[in-house]
Symmetry: C2
Amino acid sequence: MALVLLVSAALPAGGAFAQAGAAQGPVQVQPGLAPVLVGGADLAAMRTDGARYPMFAAELKRVRKEVDAAMKAGIDVPVPKDPGGGRTHEQHKRNYMAIYGAGMLYRATGDQAYADYAKRLLLEYARLYPTLGLHPAAKNNAAGKLFWQSLNDAVWVVYSIQGYDAIRDTLSEADRKAIDDGVFRPMAKFIADDQPQVFDIIHNHATWACAAVGMTGYVLRDPVMVEKALKGTDRSGKVGFLKQIDQLFSPDGYYAEGPYYQRYALQPFVVFAHAIEENEPGRKIFQYRDGVLTKAVKAAVQLTYDGYFFPFNDALLEKSLKTDELYQSIAIAYGATRDPALLSIARWQDRTTLTPDGLAVARDLAAGREKPFPYASMLFRDGPDGDQGAIAVMRSGPGDDDEVVAVKNTAQGMGHGHYDKLNWILYDAGRPIVTDYGAARFLNIEAKDGGRYLKENETWAKQTVAHNTLVVNETSQFDGKVKVANTMAPRQIFFSAEGSAKISTAEMAGAWPGVTFRRSIVQVDAGKGPPLVLDLLKVKGDKPAQYDLPLHFAGHIIDAGFPLQQNLATRPVLGKDDGYQHLWVDATGTPDASNARLTWINGERFYTWRMLPPAGAQVIIAQSGANDPKFNLRREPVLIQRVKSPGETTFVGVLEPHGAYDPSAETTEGSTSRIEALRHERVEGADIVTIVLAGGRTITLAIADSAEAGLAHKAAVDGKAIAWKGHFARFDGKGGAQ
Amino acid sequence: MALVLLVSAALPAGGAFAQAGAAQGPVQVQPGLAPVLVGGADLAAMRTDGARYPMFAAELKRVRKEVDAAMKAGIDVPVPKDPGGGRTHEQHKRNYMAIYGAGMLYRATGDQAYADYAKRLLLEYARLYPTLGLHPAAKNNAAGKLFWQSLNDAVWVVYSIQGYDAIRDTLSEADRKAIDDGVFRPMAKFIADDQPQVFDIIHNHATWACAAVGMTGYVLRDPVMVEKALKGTDRSGKVGFLKQIDQLFSPDGYYAEGPYYQRYALQPFVVFAHAIEENEPGRKIFQYRDGVLTKAVKAAVQLTYDGYFFPFNDALLEKSLKTDELYQSIAIAYGATRDPALLSIARWQDRTTLTPDGLAVARDLAAGREKPFPYASMLFRDGPDGDQGAIAVMRSGPGDDDEVVAVKNTAQGMGHGHYDKLNWILYDAGRPIVTDYGAARFLNIEAKDGGRYLKENETWAKQTVAHNTLVVNETSQFDGKVKVANTMAPRQIFFSAEGSAKISTAEMAGAWPGVTFRRSIVQVDAGKGPPLVLDLLKVKGDKPAQYDLPLHFAGHIIDAGFPLQQNLATRPVLGKDDGYQHLWVDATGTPDASNARLTWINGERFYTWRMLPPAGAQVIIAQSGANDPKFNLRREPVLIQRVKSPGETTFVGVLEPHGAYDPSAETTEGSTSRIEALRHERVEGADIVTIVLAGGRTITLAIADSAEAGLAHKAAVDGKAIAWKGHFARFDGKGGAQ
């Protein structure tokens, strides 16, 4: 994976961040040897009160068990050799967790044995580290010394420096000097000064690096080191931690790489911010940019379903809020805001941290102060100025079983970004229904290419056809070129979460030369049951082209409304490149407006995808997994609408959850769609879609080209005049006469 | 699905069941109109105490909600029209639940409104039923009137007669006569006298029929009706309920059709038995055949993992102990035995029944009387005399996460049986790992062939290659002929659940002409982690043949130890018939003893299947789903060892769970196998398998041909002499020198 430098010139300078001035000024470090990452009064409270609050007591027990086991296993600081997932890699990870854990335990209990153990481990590193060159399994220009990439070295420091801070005042001067000079000072130098190509960029890897160096600076009382962390190696402020806060988060707290990496990126942001707050409260780091860091923690929570992150861009599906990054983020954000909604997340996580913030979480949970987290339908703008697209989230309710639609209208998000502008996913009844593949990667599993991103991550997972959005001429957006993709973002034209139909409209121009496409996704409350979801996608190209619109879904196919030509005994591959080489074609068909639907079952509910295929369109039912010699891909179904277009084409689809299958009671209801018809008309300046429900009841959705709020529109639908103001309106009809 | 008549002559007559004499004698019915299916004292207790016990109160609330909703919806007794899953089908199901529920509620609360509602519904049936001929969607010689098959009519009666019994003494004589003569008497006549081909057979459908007729007999005070139910329409006792108890359960309480149908079959057995106990306690029905009915309830529970039934034979994977049949069975068995282990099952089910037995369950749970259910490694013999094979269950512990191996050495089990003698499955960490497809059926989903068993149930799910057992010449066992299959059963040669290695050895002769095969499955505690499982399968055929040994597994392939020839861009189908037409071939290879292994991941653990392929063997990696025009099949992986054999061949395999993948902590351990080598030697009268673990530690398993307990065996293994007595022994070595 290549590190990508976001060229600062491409981003707006200054402007919105002028208020950040409060955080400027000379760096202050505390005198003496006492812990600086946690205040002394808080330390005392942990020791006196910790055992009284169940969640903190449980964490004490958990960490004690882990550290005691590590102590029993003995000191093992191997010469670095293996890549991710390998023995030395895992051992060095275990060691930083042990140094951190032992330090926290010493802080929380005062038990000298933990301080001694952390010291012995660190002294071993003080012997090893100065002997090391670059890691033998290094793959790129960001090589580490303890690990194959320097990112992991930075993570090692972020954990270990916290453990070290907690015990540093217990050490002899000789031991302290050995560790200061043998481990942390040279590691900080390696991370900052020796690798400016990693350190001086706007990227989450650099945030870990800055956090490592900055926290080391506070602990070693080295203001220059802190200043490099805050402002870059040249201390100019053009890069460094503060600039990362400016540029990697949008005003809504959305992180440029997407929810999965937002989780990962948050940790060094909040942990280093917490260290800044402890040492230089005058910087008001948690108020910086209108409190964007705590907004980012809350945004990370909003961008989940049932606790699992929306898997946009490179993302492992199994990643939830139950991760160390989020335990720390929630505790630190609670410390900074005392927002009781965060307590309910800590309750769900069932974990907190062995820190004063963790103590506050545990104490306030024990006192019953939690409030439900306000999961909401909302827009998360992307880009430092919030003008580089957005993720639009529409929820039928705040619960884990409610229907959630997430539309990805964001910018590329650098090297981990997927070529999937205007992609969407849908969850219902606790399950993914319209899906995103996420990343092709088996984290830390050695046999799967050392646990790194797999070749298929490039050839499949990132490609446009692996997502639920337009593909032109079987070619991915931006021709799969990240440098080009980074320069263009969609435009979020409209978003509304009010009333009985929520809507997101966005437009993308330039993903292919001469092609602009616009998509409205509308979550429509239709009364009983989960909402219907309308997908209206309009393409304008300057020449004839083939347009494909895939819908990846999860579930078992129940039936298709249209005749299928089946590939029963040999299945061809759909294409040659851009992900198409990974699709087996199960069947094709040419449905019309009356029968273009596919129904599947997932869990205890049915889902029907009903289409108005463009004239002459073909529907392809396929499955991922072709040309996959290492069995690296999951095998999942997809439906693709394909049309040879003169240039302008409109795709209309409605996703309808329906019915109930109860295997215990052996009852099945509503296994067939309750939509009788779907109609689309283009009128002057607007598109009108009418959904005819069983019994003739109609829902008409009018979507104007213009997003202007006051602009008046009118049209005739089924002989009746309708009129509305602004981008979008909904009209309900009793039917009958229609 | 054809009903299969088990010819009585093929089964041992009398003999073991002579003790059943106590249940003979003239049938007794109670005088008067009072409820006869529940005693009067119990009725009073439900009304006075019910609300005090949380589980009973919850059930009252649940049923009240359901029945109140049904009452609000109004009376709807449609003319029968639709097959399973269709509107009229589902409505008549709802109606019997409503009649039952209203009756129970009247019993439990005394609220007259429920009695009136049940009466109104039943009077509507009294108007409709006499007008009905056979159901228009009937498919075979077991047509119903209310439903497409008479089985459902019988189920209707079993529920409705209970509701009717509860309210019958509240009716006017005219209403009572209208319902007696318009509904239950003619339905009993239809079920018994008009369809002896269904009623007078040894089959679970007939048990429902007998229960319907017998309970109706008690309620209508008709001893002849009861006697027909107990002894068949000719009242000779050659068929009927008592004979069904004799012949459908083994002495261990195993039901001939397998765990899934055991669940289904149990309900009429225990419900009718409860009625017999209430009306004729002198029959001591729950002591009949050494208490086989309550043994059967406990056996049904034993034949589950994490509450889900082992899916042998036709079975839906999603079926658990949380079903109406098992709520009733657990409550009735608790009423009959007061075994506190049953209370913990009721706790897991979180439901009981609105009956005096349900009251006892709720009361004793509230009093904290439950004990853990003793999930055990044990043998469940098949056949009325217990001599028609067995299911061998080996558990590493009683928990939901423990490793469980189930070996299916049973007889065919009639029409729902699969051709899979000596098949096995394995669960670990709460998940299926070595799998059985179960049935190809979408219960009650109209678009899937009316919810009936699908064509693919015959062409795939029942075929031998869809299971983890031997296939000869790509032909299923017994050539897929159920009549032949019903005449032959495997022989369970040995079973031991003692010590650090549990073992089942069984043999099947005649599944193909001239072929005998024998299989030992050994669950081997290897110290840390879940046990290893050895599979030793030995075939003797009287002529050269192709032997296939499939292993169906669940998970994502991590890697193969041997080179694979991949079908990357076109996948051929494996064969023409007997299920082979449904397999896509992903890859083939020709491993040797050093590299024959495949590793996959499932959840947070790795699994390696290590083989000693016979000389010249090919390994095929395939996936189900070819030739499946309706998308009826799930797509699941299988590994097949294939060898052209001169006639005698031995397959050796070891299933090894290993390692841990933790997506939250991002740690992975032990993702590669810890087995260094696998060796097999044939010595005089025995097979010796040695598993060499990392570090050279060895586990040697010696399996003698003979099952004789005292017989002495000796052999030389790696130059060391070993000696043992009996069928099986385990020897552990420190390795090193080896």
